[in-house]
Symmetry: C2
Subunit: 191 residues, 2 copies
DNA sequence: GTCTATAGGATGATAGAC
DNA sequence: GTCTATCATCCTATAGAC
């Protein structure tokens, strides 16, 4: 039985609206209306619209950072690490679907320290991923192609998983993971 | 020597601003300032902000539709068609980079017929792509994995190419195409 | 904790002078 | 074709009653 605080309710409602229309197209009145209250009342629970955005985004960004740290600490092969990263993205997509939209589309509307924190975490995440791919190429486990193209291909798919996951939805997470790992590792051409 | 009309200049400037901050975060005053003029003067060249968005998006959407029609009309194998589609996306990314951002991020702010036109074209595009993948699986050319996962993996990478292309930039289009085709067709694992 | 009222400023768009 | 001036509306946020 989930006992959501009023603040958590507001966060969930805003996350859903931000995902549908984007941060700037959603007004405090829109959020209040969806909550069945007046805009002014929102300010009893939150400091302002910015807090909604930064809480949402930084929460997800921290989940990615922690997940990646765990992968990096694991003493497994580069390809196994990539499998773990795919798992991580699927798990976050399932658990933080709404916040992911804000992270992907509205991060540039973060302000000051929040923006800097986000950019730092993203930078570190990509840099870790890149080094895994390079290690894989160096040890002969991964084909010697442009590492940046490999990084981009996998990451852009994983990042937009949330758009598609609930549209097509209801696909078992294990099936999804299995097929996605297969596509990136073995490719789509029948052998 | 390009002889851009004033209207085309406005379109280019807005496209750039929309890409950086999103449609709703860019005001007519922002566009005017970037053009070195006053907001009111913009209305001598365009009917309003919506026209900027719909012109940008529908232009790119039509380029995709025509490209896909050409691929479908071609009597080649499913895998060759996928290669052609990758080429198409790279070409459009290079030539319509700014409009692509609007198409990806701000299509939901289109209104009435423009929104319906866009959704119709997107629907048809995905449906054509899906049938190519299914044909490939049926004739044994493509591995028998969930077609939706294959479609999504390739399409989400191609769709966000524009973000990454100019950030990392300056990668030769032919090298990019070769590596991307290789990754999707053969996968990244060394054989 | 929610409301009404409102401040203070930004927004898209128009009217009319030059 | 560009300007200044302005309208009507929307926005985030606050003050204070209940």
């Amino acid at each position: 039985m989930k006992m959501a605080t009023r603040k958590e309710e507001i966060m969930e409602v805003s996350a859903r609206l931000f995902k549908e229309k984007g941060y700037n197209a959603v007004s405090m009145r829109d959020i209040a209306k969806a909550m069945g209250m007046k805009a002014a009342s929102l300010y009893n629970h939150i400091s302002g619209k910015q807090e909604l955005l930064s809480t949402l985004i930084l929460q997800v960004a921290r989940a990615f950072t922690q997940g990646m740290d765990a992968v990096m600490a694991d003493a497994i092969s580069p390809v196994s690490k990539i499998e773990k990263i795919i798992e991580l993205h699927i798990e976050i997509t399932i658990n933080h679907s709404e916040g992911l939209a804000a992270l992907n589309n509205d991060w540039m509307h973060l302000e000051n320290d929040d923006l800097a924190d986000f950019l730092g975490m993203r930078e570190r995440y990509e840099s870790n991923f890149r080094s895994i791919i390079k290690d894989g190429i160096d040890c002969g486990e991964i084909s010697p192609r442009h590492p940046e193209v490999i990084l981009f291909s996998i990451l852009s798919t994983l990042r937009t998983l949330y758009v598609w996951y609930q549209k097509r939805g209801k696909l078992d997470a294990n099936v999804l993971k299995k097929d996605m790992v297969a596509i990136f590792l073995q490719g789509i051409v029948a052998k």
